[in-house]
Amino acid sequence: MKFVLLWSDALFFLLVAMCVFGAWRARRNPQLASAWRQVGTHRVGVAAATILLCFAAIAVLDSVHYRERLPGENGNVQYSVEVLSVLDGLMTKERTQLEKTYSAPLATQLFAKESRADGEGRDFPRLKYGGAQLADPALRDADVEKRALGGLVAGFVIWAVLAFCVRRWLRPRAPWFAWSAFVFTFAAIAVVSGVIVALAPEYHVFGTDKVGQDVLYLSLKSVRTALLIGTLTTLSMLPAALFLGIVAGWRGGWVDDAIQYVYTVLNSIPGVLLIAAAVLMMQVVIDGHPAWFSTSAERADARLLSLCVIMGVTSWTGLCRLLRAETLKLRELEFVQAAQAFGVSGFNIMLRHILPNVMHIVMISLVMDFSGLVLAEAVLSYVGIGVDPTTISFGTMINAARMELAREPMVWWSLASAFSFMFVLVLAANLFADAVSEAFDPRGKRS
């Protein structure tokens, strides 16, 4: 086995490390600590954060990539060209057990009729893997019930253990935290995932798509794409936005004019069209240099990252403007003027005095932009200017499934599953963003 570190993985882990570092800093800074504490007392915010953490865990599992070792001849080590992630490894069954075509959730038979092997009329053939352990499809309901109940109990037991731990050790240490919201959300998650985990080995819980892929697997894989786009987009242009915004506000004069000119120009190009043009161009570059990428996963990864950067270029202007306005305000405050009187250099003032005081704006815009970006990815991928068609994402799932509603009877499960996963993710992100901006926005505290 050989580990592969894709660029997006590296950036994603960098992001996780930054979160950990940020949390460590926040503990030592009383102001930040009190703001986070306020988020912690916010019940809806805690519930949303719990759900987001679960999604993040899936994305982390899906970000550790490796290439399997192939059985080579006499010491000749060879690796598969297929790049897998830990999530792929855990879901090997769902990933490799392909049916012929559509099958409904928990079905034991294919969705389309086929001629029978004995040549007598047409029939729904049994699935190759879904419910294959059953002797008779009629036994399915009882089997599903039994398994689901087992999963339910297992999920409940896990929840009970965690709830006990919270009550015993965690709650006394941080009584201000909204533990009840955490415990209740976790109960829902544990029960639902318990049932799914119990059923997944024998059935296609959310059905299969046109080429027989398991929809549950596709949905879980989409989570990483969505999270990457939601976070890396803002992060990719963050250094530029921070630097230009603060410098424009601090220096004023022609520097300010030049920076304002740059973002007005970028702003005046409609975002979608700029993205469309840039993605088209990136595609030409990527297709023109096949030698740059050793596996198709790397190529898809390059396209994903370039999409993040391109979306970042179209969206950093808003943040830059906010930072400039805030810097203009801070510049006139006494502590900055005092630092100036002491002869601190302009660069140091920007770094030590202004930067920490605009970080709450960065924080708020990071969480506020997230949900919009996740939704935008689906739209862009649908239009054909989003992620690589081989990358599994909510957009590509919806795009592949949208014609299925016209079938008779209807194939609804891929769309339903993509939309529900996206809805839960975006709703949680929206609610968390509200809690964070309420806690960090100085204006929010007043009212």
Binding site: Y261, V262, T264, V265, L266, N267, S268, I269, P270, G271, V272, L273, L274, A276, A277, A278, L280, M281, Q283, V284, V285, D287, G288, S371, L375, A378, V379, Y382, V383, G384, I385, F394, I398, R402, L405, A406, L415, F419, M422, F423, V426, L427, N430, L431, D434, S447
Partner: protein
């Protein structure tokens, strides 16, 4: 006033030059015309002659910025930059890959696009303000709370869901209106009603929530307290004072919405098979027709700048204190 407008007009020129430069770099420097030709003709098995022919057909066979072989002024004018980029300022966009004149195409496709975007804009604004005022009128009650929860839920649903779901429910299940296409004359309303309603609903959640915060902020001001103390009814306070004073942030926000209407119609038009500018752009993206995409980027920026300009004008209409100088 006139000098102000003139100055704003002149100010637009450097911005448009910047836009032009960006698109030029994007389309001709990041990828040379050779790359584009190879992409269009298929990456493998392409001869140098075929590339040359493709370039000559589209006028991409000239130097990028400076033609050393030409004489006199044509040293600067007989180049790709001059012919393909600067010509945009006189709205000469050249031809699409299928040989049709882009400007002509834009003129005929503008009508269906406007037929959707305009009702969506007006209806959307009206319904958002109405619902927001309603929530503010019932503020701090269960109605307000449910309304806000509903808004957040609506914000979290993908716009694709509204389109796919609406099409399926109204057109396929209930057979109320045709699924897609566009009729001529008055018949067109039958086709337009569903896309308009879907786009309005799709944008409602976030805008109602945003206007509600704006109105609530105004409600905490002193003049509102004074108005209430005078004995004005709550409705009169909301309509005569709060709404009027919240007009400036609303107008600022509305201009931000105009370019994103473009995105909405991009999707809506392609889903409902309406032959407007949005579906034109989508088709061009799918066919990798660079000339059309470039023209749309340029027009989009011009419209945005006009939008900014109109915002300034509208400020003077709603706030007599503002004078444009």
């Amino acid at each position: 006033m006139l000098t102000y407008l003139l100055r704003r007009f002149l100010y637009a020129i450097p911005i448009l030059i910047g836009v032009n430069l960006i698109t030029f770099v994007l389309f001709f420097v990041v990828n040379t015309p050779d790359d584009m030709a190879r992409m269009q003709l298929g990456v493998k098995h392409v001869t140098a002659e075929a590339i040359e022919k493709w370039k000559v057909e589209r006028g991409y066979d000239k130097p990028l910025l400076w033609n050393a072989q030409a004489s006199g002024t044509s040293k600067a004018t007989d180049t790709i930059f001059f012919e393909k980029s600067l010509s945009m300022f006189v709205l000469d966009f050249g031809r699409a890959d299928d040989g049709r004149d882009i400007m002509n195409e834009i003129k005929t496709r503008m009508v269906p696009s406007l037929a959707i975007a305009l009702p969506v804009f007006v209806l959307g604004l009206w319904s958002a303000v109405t619902f927001a005022l309603l929530l503010v009128f019932f503020r701090a009650t269960w109605l307000d709370f449910t309304g806000v929860v509903l808004c957040v839920m609506m914000m979290s649903v993908s716009s694709l869901f509204y389109i796919i779901g609406g099409q399926w429910l109204i057109s396929k299940l209930w057979h109320l209106v045709p699924i897609s296409g566009l009729g001529a004359g008055l018949d067109a309303t039958r086709f337009l009603i569903l896309p308009v309603i879907i786009s309005v609903i799709g944008g409602l959640g976030s805008s109602v929530r945003w206007y509600r915060t704006l109105f609530l902020e105004e409600c905490n001001r002193d003049y509102v307290r004074t108005a209430r103390a005078k004995g004005l009814s709550e409705l009169a306070v909301l309509f005569r004072h709060v709404l009027k004073n919240a007009m400036i942030p609303i107008l600022t926000g509305v201009v931000v919405v105009i370019p994103s209407l473009f995105l909405g119609s991009l999707l809506i038009e392609s889903f409902f098979g309406i032959p407007g500018l949005g579906s034109y752009t989508i088709d061009a993206i799918a066919a990798q027709d660079f000339a059309v995409v470039r023209a749309m980027v340029f027009i989009g920026s011009v419209l945005y700048i006009v939008g900014l300009w109109l915002t300034d004008l509208s400020y003077t209409l709603v706030d007599p204190r503002i004078r444009l100088q």
